[in-house]
């Protein structure tokens, strides 16, 4: 079997639409309509990436997510409805790479999928010389950051925060994840730390901190470092 995108979605019309959208971009598509189908498909062969609807007729998509994460780091983009922010955060903290909210435009879905595939590749090679995201250039070894070619002085914490987001550029990173990575496991509740540092980072990196173009807030979920094609 050639690697493909596995679409786990119980609604046939939605599955058809996604299939068409992905097919148009040259992706090969597998489909599953139930939790059981999904698990048996994954057991046969690991897909290139997974699009996962959280509401399945025979269980929660979260269960599928956990089963997949036990055996594979395959990129997973969760599909959920508005008003399910809690589930989105739960899915992200359980290992999902990103999410899209129904209803979405085709372009949004493709952008999320591309970002997930790309950052999965980036994670596979964690000791990169440098990261380039839009106008930003980050040198992890020297711990330096350049904005449009000019070096920006950052404190160690600001740098760590930016680096965690840059590694997953284009994807939403939850508050919890950022706090754990930058401050450590015992700080996961202290979101106010994050607010203060995000404000500082914006002041240093955004052209107009009042309309952020790089560090995007996703209310109730987390932050996203906007990648140029996302």
């Amino acid at each position: 079997m050639t690697p493909a995108i596995l679409v786990i979605e119980d609604e046939l019309p939605m599955r058809r639409v996604i299939r068409t959208a992905l097919g148009g971009q040259g992706y090969h598509v597998w489909e599953a309509g139930t939790k059981r189908d999904a698990i048996s498909t994954i057991a046969k062969s690991v897909p290139q990436a997974i699009l996962l609807d959280l509401g399945l007729p025979d269980g929660s998509g979260l269960e599928v997510l956990k089963i997949v994460r036990e055996r594979s780091e395959v990129p997973i983009v969760v599909i959920s409805a508005r008003g399910e922010e809690r589930d989105q955060v739960l899915a992200l903290d359980s290992g999902a790479n990103d999410y899209v909210t129904k209803p979405f435009r085709e372009a949004e879905l493709l952008a999320r999928l591309r970002a997930a595939l790309r950052s999965a590749a980036a994670y596979a090679a964690p000791f990169e010389e440098r990261l380039e995201i839009g106008p930003l250039r980050i040198h992890p070894n020297e711990r330096t950051v350049y904005l449009n070619g000019r070096e920006v002085p950052l404190t160690p914490t600001e740098f760590s925060l930016l680096q965690v987001m840059a590694r997953q550029a284009g994807r939403v990173v939850t508050h919890r994840h950022l706090l754990r990575e930058v401050w450590g496991g015992s700080y996961v509740q202290d979101t106010q730390y994050l607010r203060v540092y995000m404000r500082q980072l914006r002041r240093k990196l955004e052209q107009d901190p009042n309309t952020p173009q790089l560090l995007i807030t996703t209310p109730g979920v987390g932050y996203r470092l906007r990648a140029p094609d996302a």
Binding site: E11, P13, M14, R16, V17, I18, T20, A21, G24, G55, A81, R82, G83, E85, R86, K102, P103, F104, R105, E106, A107, L109, T155, P156, T157, F159, S160, Q163, V164, H175, E181, V182, W183, G184, T191, Q192, Y193, R195, V196, Y197, M198, R199, Q200, P209, N210, T211, P212, Q213, I216, T217, T218, P219, G220
Partner: protein, 491 residues
């Protein structure tokens, strides 16, 4: 039910039996005299063959027997008349009170003293027994009352049962009045208020004789009965409240199930339509201007419909109190900027002036709901003001709260409508001429703010335009200084 009634009747008859065991005093004197006649007759026949001591025992027996039944007066009467009759009939010289032997005088005085002493002891015993019986009677009556009142299902039933108990205990003239007014004093009657906590629910009125007519004081029984009735009423109210809460919870559960079903069923096909439309729009096939326009209409209108469904759901959920706030400490400027970023396309021809002080304290809020609030306010400002007119967003801290204002330079809202526009489905005069609204936007805004314990209001601007102001409670003193948070990086 029938077995319960039988049990009641058994209880009542037992109670009646217990209370009829009091013996009238007046009859006691007759019995005392009769006893003396019997003992004296026996002694008279026995006297020739017996000694004085034997005769005295016969007499003592009679006096003690009487004292087990009757009070001091009857016992003393029996003892004294008995001694006199003995002296007269049995002691020589017979048929005379004369007592020649002084030793006999001493014996008789001793006999009288012993008889009186025994009577006195018996009296104490009898009083104790009566007190015990009275307390048992009271306990039984109150138990029966409580048991009976605990089985009722309505207040009317409760009062009916209480009334029948009261007439059982205090006679037919006992009255139970359910009123908050103080009882009027009436000669010959005693009233006892029924009090729940601090307020009077009603009172019991009984004839004074029913309390003191018998030898036992039944004032305590009256007070305790009033207490039991108050307790039973309280219990009934609690039970009703619990039942109502249960029904409410069931209705709530049904409504939520319906809401989520509707939301899922309507939004799922809509999501497919929108994604399909946008796919067609983005596809590389050749499209003429008309089909492009039609496709854009499909996408835009399905987006709008999705917005309407979302608003409708939020309004219902917030108003029914079903929304659970997912509160976290958030910086308001962060949320405002996130909304502005999303609106950036539609704001290109406007000047948006944001003034949120850096020292604005963080607020504990549900970010998703506050986001919706900001979106709705900005949406209104965009929809009802001329394109190109500026919009201002101002933040300020006040005592225990953070206030945010969204100001525009539009036509303004007439003073008479400023409160009504928050009502569900109400649309202002200006809104009616404008398509696209549902009359839910501000309703949701108010519901969101109120769910956070804040307030929202609309004001006119002297120089033209509208100010929508909302405040959210904040107990955070000031933003943390970043230098205090700097940690050794772990990455």
């Amino acid at each position: 039910m029938s077995s319960a009634r039988q049990a009641d009747e058994r209880g009542h008859s037992r109670f009646r039996a217990a209370s009829s065991r009091a013996y009238p005093e007046r009859l006691g004197f007759v019995w005392g005299a009769l006893t003396n006649v019997v003992t004296t007759t026996v002694a008279f026949w026995v006297a020739p063959h017996a000694q004085l001591a034997h005769l005295m025992i016969i007499h003592l027996l009679g006096a003690v027997l009487i004292s087990t039944r009757y009070g001091m007066a009857v016992s003393t009467f029996t003892a004294v008349t008995g001694v006199l009759a003995f002296d007269f009939f049995c002691i020589p010289p017979v048929f005379a009170f004369a007592m020649p032997d002084p030793r006999n005088v001493l014996s008789f005085a001793g006999l009288l003293l012993v008889a009186l002493l025994v009577c006195w002891l018996n009296q104490g015993l009898r009083q104790q027994r009566a007190a015990a019986r009275e307390s048992e009677e009271r306990t039984q009556a109150l138990c029966q009352l409580s048991l009976d009142l605990s089985r009722v299902t309505s207040a009317q039933q409760l009062f009916a049962r209480a009334r029948s108990h009261l007439s059982e205990l205090f006679g037919d003239q006992a009255e139970l009045c359910v009123t908050k007014h103080k009882p009027t004093a009436e000669p010959g009657f005693t009233t006892q208020a029924i009090i729940d906590g601090k307020s009077q629910i009603g009172y019991i009125r009984v004839r004074q004789e029913s309390l003191f007519g018998r030898r036992t004081n039944r004032r305590l029984l009256l007070v305790a009965s009033a207490d039991r009735i108050a307790d039973a009423l309280k219990l009934l109210a609690l039970g009703e409240a619990a039942r109502r809460a249960q029904v409410d919870a069931e209705v709530e559960r049904d409504r939520n199930a319906l809401l989520s079903a509707v939301s899922h069923d309507m939004k799922t096909p809509l999501a497919s339509i929108m994604t399909a439309g946008s796919s067609l729009l983005a596809s590389p096939w050749q499209k003429d201007a008309t089909s492009r326009e039609l496709l854009e209409t499909i996408v835009q209108e399905s987006e709008r419909m999705n917005g309407l469904i979302t608003n409708l759901l939020s309004a219902t959920r917030l108003e029914s109190g079903a929304a659970i706030l997912n509160k976290e400490l958030e910086a308001l400027d962060d949320l405002v900027f996130a909304v502005l970023s999303r609106f950036s396309g539609r704001l290109s021809d406007r000047r948006v002036d944001v003034d949120l002080p850096v020292d604005l304290p963080m607020v504990s809020i549900d970010a998703v709901l506050i986001d919706q609030l900001l979106v709705n306010l900005l949406e209104n400002a965009l929809r009802y003001t001329p394109s190109g007119s500026p919009i201002e967003i101002r933040g300020a801290r006040s005592a225990g709260a953070v206030t945010v204002e969204v100001r525009d330079r539009g036509p303004g809202i007439p003073a008479a409508e400023r409160e009504r526009v928050f009502e569900k489905f109400y649309r202002g005069q200006a809104a009616k001429q404008n398509d696209g609204g549902t009359g839910l936007g501000l309703t949701i805004c108010r519901a969101v703010v109120q769910a956070h314990g804040g307030a929202i209001s609309i004001e006119g601007r002297a120089s033209g335009g509208t100010i929508v102001r909302f405040s959210l409670p904040s107990d955070v003193q000031a933003p943390l200084a970043a230098s205090a948070l700097e940690r050794r990086p772990t990455a």
